[in-house]
Symmetry: C2
Subunit: 349 residues, 2 copies
Amino acid sequence: MSKDTPPTVPTHTTKQRRSSDQVTLSQVAKAAGVSPITASRALNHPDKVSDSARDSVLAAVEKLGYVPNLLAGSLASSRSQLIAVIVPSLINTVFVEVIQGLQETLEAEGYQILLGNTDYDLDREYQLVRTFLGWSCSALVTAGLRHNKACHTLLTNCGHPIMEVMELGEGMDLNVGLDHVAAGRCMANHLIDKGYRHIVYVGARLSQDYRASMRFEGHEAVLKGAGLDAPLVELDTLGSLQAGAEGLAQVLTQYPDTQAIHFANDDLAAGALLAAQRQGLNIPNDIAIAGFNGLPLGQHLTPQLTTILSPRKEMGRLAAKELIRRLSGKNVYRRQHDVGFKLQLGEST
Amino acid sequence: MSKDTPPTVPTHTTKQRRSSDQVTLSQVAKAAGVSPITASRALNHPDKVSDSARDSVLAAVEKLGYVPNLLAGSLASSRSQLIAVIVPSLINTVFVEVIQGLQETLEAEGYQILLGNTDYDLDREYQLVRTFLGWSCSALVTAGLRHNKACHTLLTNCGHPIMEVMELGEGMDLNVGLDHVAAGRCMANHLIDKGYRHIVYVGARLSQDYRASMRFEGHEAVLKGAGLDAPLVELDTLGSLQAGAEGLAQVLTQYPDTQAIHFANDDLAAGALLAAQRQGLNIPNDIAIAGFNGLPLGQHLTPQLTTILSPRKEMGRLAAKELIRRLSGKNVYRRQHDVGFKLQLGEST
DNA sequence: CGCTGTCATGATAGCGCTACCATACGTTTT
DNA sequence: AAAACGTATGGTAGCGCTATCATGACAGCG
């Protein structure tokens, strides 16, 4: 069926489309008496147009209340000012603080954060990554070094900078974090130094919070090295004050001669500390308690909580800076950044 | 300058553009043996194509590893699956919990959250709104009913659903929140019922956290109504445990005969409670302490903190549901939703 | 058997912006 | 003086997708 007769009238009644009343750059350009492309340059590369052109464009923008369509701009230039941030949870303050650090630094550079929450589900992470790549994010930040196969492939091939935060290690691209195994060792050493011999590690959902289990690895290695047992109590509820109280109860039942408990984080530790006090136990004489993270709460308890301070906000800031550096084309010498940690001695051990 | 000579050779060497190796829908369509538009329909309106077409498109998507370009799709359809969420702070857990509620509901419906943080700066809010509108967000969620003039104008005219959360009142469009004045009254009544007569309200940065000052209004009205003074202590640091401790100290100095302190939130209250205990004060006998929010921490302290429980996550969920309902074209009967609050009696009053 | 009404599919024309080239003009170099 | 360069500006053609309209096929109806 060869069509030899062209459509008599090409329907050139301008196939009208939804007329999104939005003010466009062309309208601004017309009002300013320049071409659209000059208007575009006046806004995005101000140094590439004459002062007079720039001024009249800016005046027109103001007058018409022009709001740039970022969608169109990003599509045309195939780069967006979006940066995806994927975290496993928002309940855990730790991630929120990292996000804060990222946000304050990125927003100052004109980037927007696209936030995703995996709920500790790696398949969900993969889905989020797909979606975010669909938004042509300039970069992706994700918590942790563990991903599922598909996600890993997608990320390594997407061509955008990838920043893996929280834990130190060989990542796909950029990495900012701390050594959790070392942190576990550090606290275990401290407890042994203090003379404790019966030490239990308490964590919650370690398969999900695998960084906590890395800390346990370090802890275990030190204890074993000192010829001690390294019992582990794993709770099924997520880290919280409540879970900490339960952890304490479980330890007291299962290991009655425990002298010290090394909790996977400060929430658990604080919950246990408060519960212990409610029960009339003396800390650290009856039982010593240690945490991880260095949340402010620990410093306001009596006794103050012994913990390990992790520079969370700083981690976010540093990650953001490194990303910005990479995105602005500069070479990034160090792909891996150790933000370190610090033993914070309290009275609870 | 009439151009009568067309460009000799129209440079039709296909003005090649950056060839973003990305797999496009056209490629998928070709692989599936259908037209691009059918491929588009197969993905976005699966019920509008035949089963066979749909299957071959999906197979091609899988085979080529196609990731839809959401930018292009949104531009073409002038609607995005983005929803902007603007909060004044992430340090305050309260907002994070609202975000959680929003996120779990919105993500389930395929929406993405674009997060903005104003740092309690209304001009910053305006900037964020501008940016977000540039992304063609389908809707905007913002914390609070107070905005600056420009922001208000922009929001009311943007044509997208606006959801104002946290506080109840006459908003621009949709509203989910609670009555903070009533909450302040509620706690004040409780304290009076308990027999306290010298009651101080302690808040932090009330000009920023104006919801706390609304609670003070309610508090003050009740106290004045009972013929009592309603002194206010305002701290300059943001709400935190540390600030709470300082608030306590300030109250003890300025109003030595204070019997009860009504704190603007649980962080302050908990900080004060812990500090008081450290100083050997008995709560509530020496001094009673009340908070607001119903954070878990309060329930784990001894004595348990008397507070007002605000349904934060629920607020986020409800806001999300209402938005989705509106976005799916359904009529929204109630533009205003009161999520209420609940006096949570502890042992601290 | 024509008429109308679905249904599946496709051709076309944008969405609003910017990359890419081309042009015009003034300034410097040889 | 001619050539080479730099700067400000504009025309054109897309970025990848979808709204709109048009088409052809087939069913139901009098």
